[in-house]
Subunit: 204 residues, 2 copies
DNA sequence: CGCAAAGTATACCGATCTGTTTCCTTTGTC
DNA sequence: GACAAAGGAAACAGATCGGTATACTTTGCG
């Protein structure tokens, strides 16, 4: 393609990932599938097509790469998830239940290996680990998103409802991870419907 | 103490763990806290006070030790859990809700680091991994236990109810693991109560 | 007692781990 | 075209990994 103007170049430059982003993306995929300790630096470098020197130019250590992975994935995943939920339904209640439909597609995708943050805490149980805050933050933001949907739907006890719906989502994620043959998303959706219905009767 | 008769000797011999059980017990604790890949053989041996030769006399490899850990823990944990639930209440419904009270005590204990099986799958995502079956089996047996309680309580849709209550329990476990300051057990219990109540209204 | 099984302690093996260093090439910019 | 920054390839370091081998000691039991 002939480079005709600057904007095209810029767009192209953005579409082509920087070395740093290549590293983070590859590391995300490998960490998700094989775990953090089991994934060596060399495997990431080989698969990303990046040299070791470049890695340690962008990150001080493997732990900092992990931290970058967790931070980047946080916004990426939630943005994509929320966008899909938005397309799932128009009504707030429909979106609330749509959460579990989007989750079901996620569970059935080829690159589903459970939640990166649960996995991270599972391998780094120290409460003072730098990963702890990022993981808690992700779970908190996800729960708050559910609360927003509850508020939009006009439910009085939005906080309590969000807590319970978040718990169902977590349970569905780990169940789908351990036992893929169980339709965990549908179970969670059914339970969510019951809990929401009970809330609606109270709100009247 | 003077050894007066055979039975006492036998009881004492059973109370003193065999080398194999010492290994499994120590490995269980370390795997639970630090994960499977991060826990080296040498650390287990040192903490168990057992030599390396003895380990490889009882187990062919680290993976077989992990397998033994998962298998032993399955019956040990569920037996203890069910016994505690039994003492929690007399009525079937009380026991059903008591599950989450027992879980709360578990979450608040010093040696709570999440579910060993979720952790195992998180570090060994290969569907053909020998760990997969043990983990799925544990989850299945736990769910079936909940279904038994539902049947005893006389709920018609015991299977569906058990699926949902199991999901809530899973969600509570990972939430308590990632965010200890959240009272995940109480949230799960509240949600369980709502789901059970809805079931009771249908069953009439 | 005497013997075999089980145990300890320790050195060792090859592989792999994170991280550093060296030397050379590419690339973007003034 | 020159120069500095970034990147690549590969050797290297020190530690640790899972697992084996050797030599000695303890223990249970007929």
């Amino acid at each position: 393609m002939i480079q005709t103007c600057i904007p095209i170049l810029e767009v192209h430059a953005m579409a082509t990932l920087s070395k740093r982003d290549q590293l983070v993306k590859t590391a995300t995929e490998l960490f998700a599938e094989f775990g953090y300790h089991a994934t060596g630096i060399d495997k990431i470098l080989q698969q990303a097509g990046v040299s070791k020197k470049t890695l340690y130019h962008h990150f001080r250590s493997k732990d900092e790469l992990i931290l970058a992975v967790l931070r980047d994935y946080d916004s990426l995943f939630r943005n994509d998830f929320m966008k899909q939920v938005d397309n799932e339904a128009d009504s707030p209640k429909g979106k609330l239940l749509g959460v579990y439909d989007v989750a079901e597609r996620w569970f059935n995708s080829d690159d589903f290996f459970g939640c990166m943050y649960i996995k991270a805490i599972g391998e780094h149980s120290d409460p003072k680990s730098p990963f702890r805050d990022v993981c808690k933050q992700f779970k908190k933001l996800t729960r708050n998103y559910l609360e927003e949907l509850c508020v939009e739907a006009g439910y009085r006890a939005a906080a309590e409802l969000a807590d319970q719906l978040a718990l169902l989502l977590e349970g569905a994620i780990v169940t789908a991870q351990v036992s893929p043959e169980i339709d965990a998303a549908r179970i969670a959706r059914d339970a969510a419907e019951i809990i929401i219905s009970a809330q609606e009767k109270k709100s009247h």
